[in-house]
Amino acid sequence: MIKIAVCIKQVPAYSEGEMDPKTGVLLRGGLTSVLNIYDLPAIETALRIKEEKGGEVDVFTMGPPKASDVIREAYAMGVDRGYLLSDRHFSGADVLATSYTLMQGITSVSHYDLILCGKQTTDGDTGQVSGALAKWLNIPYINWVTKIVKLEKDSIIIEQMMENEEVTIKTKYPCLVSVEQSIFIPRIPSLKLKIAAKKKEIKVLSLSEMQDQNKNHYGLRGSATKVEKIFPPTKVKKRPIVHKTGIEAASDIFKIIQQIK
């Protein structure tokens, strides 16, 4: 029996969303939303592990009440329980505050053997939340995972795809694994589970359920990064190809960034 938590997120379905020019926060009202496509393989991985070894799969998501839709979608795939981390103090969170909130939420519910995340989200796109969450939980973190090799009683063996090599890693539970999209094709929700999902309970966790109830640690206030300026990228018509060494190219890119800033 293995207890698995999967972190998921509701994201805008299309890229036509606007940002608040003052806060730099994405204005989500009125946008069609979907379950982040990179989270689906993480859910699929969790369900396959459960099917092989037995256990429970819970999902956690942070967002407004509407974000419960992605939990229902996870239920339709076969997830056991869903937790929505929702509180007005959680909004506007960056990587630091999001990962902290997730850590508080997950630890307030149970002790999990394995925490699974997708490689990134399609809105924030940082790919950093999973690593930060592992740091808060103080557990081993393995990202770029393309294969679950073996599940043992107290550990997991996985394959990690580095830039030029494939690494096989064995780590003890608890641990956090961030999976690549290629790990599994996610299953399509089942009709029976989709109908049942509507009636299934979703537990909402607000600030009052967290061990740390200091609101300065959450949302915009708890964020370490502040958006200085938002502007659409300049459209460049010419795309010249230049041949340079890595060091020369990095130096040139740095100069260009400085000019833009």
Binding site: K194, I195, K198
Partner: protein
């Protein structure tokens, strides 16, 4: 690409000598007008020189309507203007477009319209690159015609360039001869579409069956009784046999959208895809539950039935269904490279007087008897199936052709339709002329003599001259 001119045919334009029928034709010249004014100038020139015109849209037709056998090719794919969005006093939402706009572009345009509610245009045939002009000309409908009915319900007005060079405004009441008219009576230069409020909830459900008897009985039950309740309706009921599923899955690598779908289990012999549209989520769920019970009664595992909702997920399901036609076209093209005589060999017949089970069984038995490979998919409602015969050589192609002719004769005897939404074109002309009633053929000839006495439009399509 040259514009606003009549271009002599050359190697550069070879792709305009064929369409998805895989027929190959010939022509003397080609043009790509961008406006009605340019169409008029080209038509005037052709009329003066007595050169017939074959009209093309997206070249997605499978009956060879757009394949020229001589004369000039008038390709309307550059006429993509969206001219006006009109809200009438009676609450209708109308969109005036040029005929070359593709279904894909049209959907994007409608999504961007500033209106209080989300809108859509119900006809949705397989090919997103099909043009609106082509859809109207072939009376193509798509999978949701079960709920929304004929394409004509969603067209308000047409503008037609006639063979004498004049322009005719055709109202909704008078447009029947142009819808499904395959361009035989004039060139559509403007189409006013009637848009509809988009349903708030759409569910797509795929039921899988291990046993042929079970799936055929399930399909029969579905076509017998309506599952609609207040607030939601079944919009589409589609059948795909194992051969179709295999052909689609073999081409997964080439079709990005399909790569997100898991493979269908090998023990599955057929699937039924059903779409439910409605404004009340609870009503949609109620229908889904009724369907689930019915499917379970016919031994389909509801735990393994796919169920999705939301535009993006529905699009994936439709992509799978749409890939049936696309994949068979690709397969025919591949065989054709070895055996040039082979073209698309498929049915578009509709027989309502017999049961779904009887019809599928009959098709399968005949195919087996002739030793022909084929895949069967299509609309369960109205028993409107597309049997795609997949010949490996000229001998099999001829056998397949003869078999389709036999089915057409049988369908005609049972008062069924030989051509429903793909058009007659050139490829189905012989079968159509052999099986259609004298009354229908005479009616077409009377219209042709009246609207195109000099035989300007689409030579060699539909009728024998």
């Amino acid at each position: 690409m040259e514009k606003r001119s009549i271009i002599p045919m050359s190697e550069k334009y070879w792709q305009y000598l064929s369409d998805e029928s895989k027929m190959l034709g010939e022509a003397e010249s080609i043009s790509f007008p961008e406006s009605e004014e340019e169409v008029l100038k080209i038509v005037a020139k052709m009329r003066k020189d007595n050169i017939p015109i074959t009209v093309q849209g997206g070249k997605t037709g499978i009956a060879g309507c757009a394949v020229p056998l001589r004369g000039h090719i008038l390709n309307l794919s550059n006429m993509t203007q969206v001219k006006a969005f009109i809200k009438t006093d009676t609450g209708d939402r109308l969109l005036k477009v040029s005929p070359g706009i593709t279904l894909l572009e049209l959907k994007k345009t409608i999504n961007k319209l500033k209106d209080k509610e989300e809108l859509f245009w119900p006809p949705d045939p397989t090919e997103a690159s099909a043009t609106v002009g082509g859809i109207v000309s072939c009376d193509a409908k798509g999978i949701c015609s079960y709920l929304y009915g004929d394409t004509r319900n969603y067209i308000e007005q047409l503008r037609v360039v006639q063979s004498d060079g004049t322009i005719l405004e055709v109202s909704h009441e008078e447009m029947d001869k142009y819808i499904g008219g395959e361009g035989m009576l004039g060139i559509l230069t403007e189409i006013t579409l009637r848009l509809q409020p988009k349903p708030k909830e759409i569910w797509g459900i795929s039921f899988f069956f291990e046993n042929k008897h079970d799936v055929l009985c399930f399909a029969q039950e579905l076509s017998k009784k309506e599952q609609n309740i207040t607030g939601a309706c079944v919009a589409a009921i589609e059948y795909m046999d194992r051969a179709t599923i295999d052909i689609i899955q073999e081409r997964k690598e080439m079709m990005t959208k399909l790569q997100e779908l898991p493979d269908v289990d090998t023990e599955i012999c057929a699937m039924v895809y059903i779409e439910i549209h409605g404004n009340e989520e609870e009503s949609v769920e109620q229908i889904a539950e009724i369907l689930m019970e019915l499917a379970e009664m016919h031994n389909s595992n509801a735990d393994k039935a796919w169920a999705v909702s939301g535009d993006i997920e529905i699009e994936k399901m439709r992509a799978f269904r749409h890939a049936a036609a696309e994949s068979t076209n690709l397969l025919i093209e591949k065989t054709r490279q070895e055996e040039p005589s082979i073209t698309k060999l498929s049915t578009d017949m509709c027989i309502e007087s017999e049961s779904f089970k009887t019809i599928v069984t009959k098709y399968e038995e005949d195919l087996k008897k002739e030793g022909l490979k084929a895949c069967i998919f299509g609309h369960i409602y109205g028993n409107h199936l597309h049997v795609n015969i997949l010949p490996q050589n000229d001998k099999e192609y001829k056998k397949g052709h003869a078999l389709i002719e036999k089915w057409a004769k049988e369908t005609a005897l049972k008062k069924g339709k030989i051509v429903t939404e793909h058009g007659v074109g050139k490829l189905k002309k012989n079968i159509f002329l052999k099986t259609a009633s004298r009354e229908i053929i005479n009616k077409i000839l009377v219209l042709k003599n009246r609207y195109d006495p000099t035989r300007m439009w689409n030579p060699d399509n539909m009728i024998e001259e």
